[in-house]
Amino acid sequence: MKQGVDPDDLTRPFWEAANEGRLVIQYCADCDRLQHPPGRTCHACGSGDTLQWRQVSGRGRIYNYGVVHDCPIRLLQEDQPFNAAVVTLEEDPGIQMYSHLPGTPVDEVPVGEAVEVVFEATANGQKVPEWRVAGAQR
């Protein structure tokens, strides 16, 4: 099971949206550019005032993956080995999110396939965006 999450000032909108079943990503209105992980300022223009949160479709693709056999996080160690994929967003393939790809057998990851966001509870109940291969059984 994933560790729980204590939302902080910077990321609270991301986690609140996840609890409502929505995926939001930080967005600079001046640059018209998404950024993830979130920052205090836009990584492109350096402004802090132009940052907003933008809801995205929750569709993406599997860009890459590894299989974790020796995980530093105690709560995840009983799940070893597990998939750890890099998913990119349909809106902007430069934006990556990690995923355990629930429902995908270990080391049988279809790189390039479409995925859809789902929301999964962590150890303290906070929900977190996860990704499933599109069309796979839930």
Binding site: V5, T11, P37, N64, V68, A84
Partner: protein, 447 residues
Amino acid sequence: MARGGRAAMSTPAPASVYRSGEGLGLWEHRGKVAAVGIGHSPTARRWDGKPANSVGGISLAALRGAIEDSGVDPADVDGLVMDPTTTTGAFWPQGKPLPWDAINAYERTDDPLDGITRLSAEWMLKNMPELTGVQFTRYGMGCMSSAICVAAQAVGDGRTHTCLVLKSWHNLEGRYYQGGANAGNAIPGSSAIRSLWGTPACFGTAVQFAEYCRKYGKSHDMMAPFIENSRNNGLKFPEGYWAQHRPEEITPEDYKAARWIAKPANLFDNDMPIMVSAAYLFTTAERARQLKQKPVYILNHASSRTRPRSLTPTLDEVEEDTARTARKIYEGAGITAADLSFENMYDGFALFHQFHIEGLGYRGIKFGEALDFYQTDISIGGPNPVSPSGGNIGCGRSRFWMHTDCIQQIQRRASSRQVTGVKPEVAVSGGPMPLGGNFTVWSSTPG
């Protein structure tokens, strides 16, 4: 002058010291700064609690070794550049009693863990009364690779004429990165965005390597000759951990059978945290020629400050940046890839060494060709030495074997590790990561 007051409030070198831009031309101090002396502490897997083996204690040994090796009078040393961070991932556990025997064995600063789990310039100078002339101290953060850039620039700029450069590492009991927040039930939202998925330190490199193999049709097994060569070279490095404590070769069969950490990165693609310290003595080219060892001239230092767009660098981002770094390295040194006698780019993790040397175009290799190159003679006896130091894979985690090796090879005192298939004249070393490293070009002549 009162000891301890001299180095009060040492600060990190400003970003402007590092040559991270493109198109900067020849380094203004090319060939005017030289490395002469080297000092290494013994290595250990973990601290045994003895004062002399603490990170402060081993740093004293390394610095005194470098002074003696170069033949300078300690009173002539007027600069100290070092990294105040010494952790390999181990921190003093909260609530554990402090090691007062070790703390009180030395002159201490206000911070009792100074000299135990971190290291200030103040601590070093308080405990080296023979260094009566140090008027310049600066921090090069993270690695010897950055400290070298800071020291080379400082000597070139005339801020110090005889400068010690130091990097030290401590390692305590317990498994790497398994304590602290990683053992907890919840973590802060900002770190959760990256950390919730439990990816170990090598994960980013592992997936870059996976992408590399898919793009170029290569396999993890093709890394075996690199690993075997690295350990062989490391076993010829008497200062290294594996040579000192566990003289074990890694055969291709051992490598292919090793357990995965984050597939496609296995145990031997990762380096092992150890306790170790190394120091160099840098001085001006003129002063260097009066000293005991053959000067090794610095032709350039160059840095990458590129950040990935999102969570982890893509292969495109890596290749773009290693090529950019190579342009900076060569331009500032006034050399081309053809001038390199050998290469000593970083290897901890092993699976990114090929990114560094493909970016360099070492021996003309292009992107996607390094693993085929590894199937040829890459030994110290051949015409194309790869990582003659053995690196972190061959010697343990220090991120400085490659620098020591460049200096020793060019001084022709690398003992049984001495390259014999090439003349050791010009070499490059540096790291750590393909994005965000610091690099140095070393030469037997000032240019």
